[in-house]
Symmetry: C2
Subunit: 228 residues, 2 copies
DNA sequence: GTTTTCAAGATTGTGTACAATTTTGCGCAC
DNA sequence: GTGCGCAAAATTGTACACAATCTTGAAAAC
């Protein structure tokens, strides 16, 4: 997108490009990620592509089928529930910690972030809005100053993006960052318990806006349905 | 060790070998992991070695310094605290869930595990005992049937092994798997709250058996001290 | 007409070679 | 004698080439 230089991408840069594309739903679950294809698109060698794909695989963003290639991951219903259970375990407490050490700069940063979210929404760029919405949660983890938990949450956010792509029921207005506004308010007041509670409810809202009920089977990619 | 076949190792196998060596403290924090060196030891190409090292790096078991090579990670005091805070957040609840769905087979498996721990301790094989002690926690996460959280705990256990290597104060008897016995008992009774409590205390005991107090600086590797 | 088999094509997994960067050792100046 | 600088050696990062495995298509047998 914003890549105008002809300098060859490094592994980390390619990783970031692919990660962003997945976050913004330009790459949807089940999409095959052919190594030669990506290599030619970005003008890098397959070695670099493989390295980036392995990293994405360890973050559970792509699934590696032995001798069959890499595909954008398709979290099952079970995995989807697991991801949100893990988030429910980690994020409220993290928001609590974050509130207790929020600085004025943090608030300013979050406000800018939320403005960008609103802007993306207004522009109808749902992919961008979703990405920013996720980054908001990561930002809170960063404020909590817990890099280990932040890394976990980052992974969970990424996977949540895949889950949204698969199980979002369109009738609900997903990214109403109303909840984010309230969270910033709680953080500004350094009100740990309120931030905890708000985050807990926010996650519950997220889950209910998804359709995680048992379906007999939900093969969203024709290709995959035929493969079996 | 038990590698008698001349078949070339695959990436995952090499990863497992190195991971185990780190868990068992045969590789200690700060050790340089030269690519050519490992490649010749295991008779594989550097490609395979790099792949395994990248995977270990993403699990935070090795640190990759750009153009300077891979080293067995040296968690800082701060990281050490973070790891155990994350464990305190994840494991008690996971033990709670596990207790509610423990089967007879699970108990049998855990009992075998504990016996192996005792045996390794009796044999004075502390590395092995430490490894098994970690596996016990992972096994509980597996019983809880939460693969996502299990993956997180697995990583935290691995890093805990590094932390023990760095910050264990020898005067305490580390791996007294007394606590493990009690946990198995709680699981056998399907007593969730008790398992939760036991796990919480067990983790507290672990932390206090480490020396995570602030030191002005704790450069455990001469090399690293000189490098700065 | 359907099923099975086999070969050709395509794609991934691994090994090797080259380029870039860093480290290191010696020499020289001060 | 100490400090700086440059060149040689070593090590990592990337690109390329080959081997192994899987998919695909058609042809032949039933």
């Amino acid at each position: 997108m914003t890549k105008l230089t002809t300098a060859p991408l490094t592994t980390e840069q390619l990783f970031a490009q692919l990660e962003l594309a997945i976050h913004e739903h330009r790459l949807t679950p089940g999409t095959k990620l052919g190594e030669d294809e990506i290599a030619s698109i970005y003008s890098v060698s397959r070695t670099t592509v493989r390295s980036a794909l392995q990293a994405l695989s360890l973050q559970r963003l792509v699934e590696h089928k032995r001798n069959r290639g890499a595909y954008v991951a398709q979290p099952t219903l079970r995995e989807a529930r697991e991801v949100f259970e893990a988030r429910a375990l980690l994020e409220p407490r993290t928001a609590h910690s974050a509130a207790e050490r929020t600085t004025a700069e943090d608030i300013a940063k979050l406000q800018v972030h939320i403005d960008a979210e609103h802007e993306a929404m207004a522009a109808g760029n749902h992919g961008r809005a979703l990405y920013l919405s996720g980054q908001f949660h990561i930002e809170i983890a960063r404020i909590a100053d817990q890099s280990t938990i932040e890394a976990f949450i980052t992974q969970l956010i990424s996977r949540s993006s895949l889950i949204v792509a698969l199980y979002w029921q369109r009738r609900t207005a997903m990214c109403e960052s109303h909840a984010h506004d309230a969270l910033v308010s709680a953080l500004a007041d350094q009100d740990g318990p309120r931030a905890d509670e708000l985050m807990r409810n926010h996650l519950l809202d997220l889950v209910t806006s998804l359709d995680l009920r048992n379906k007999t089977s939900a093969p969203l990619s024709l290709k995959d349905a035929l493969a079996q």
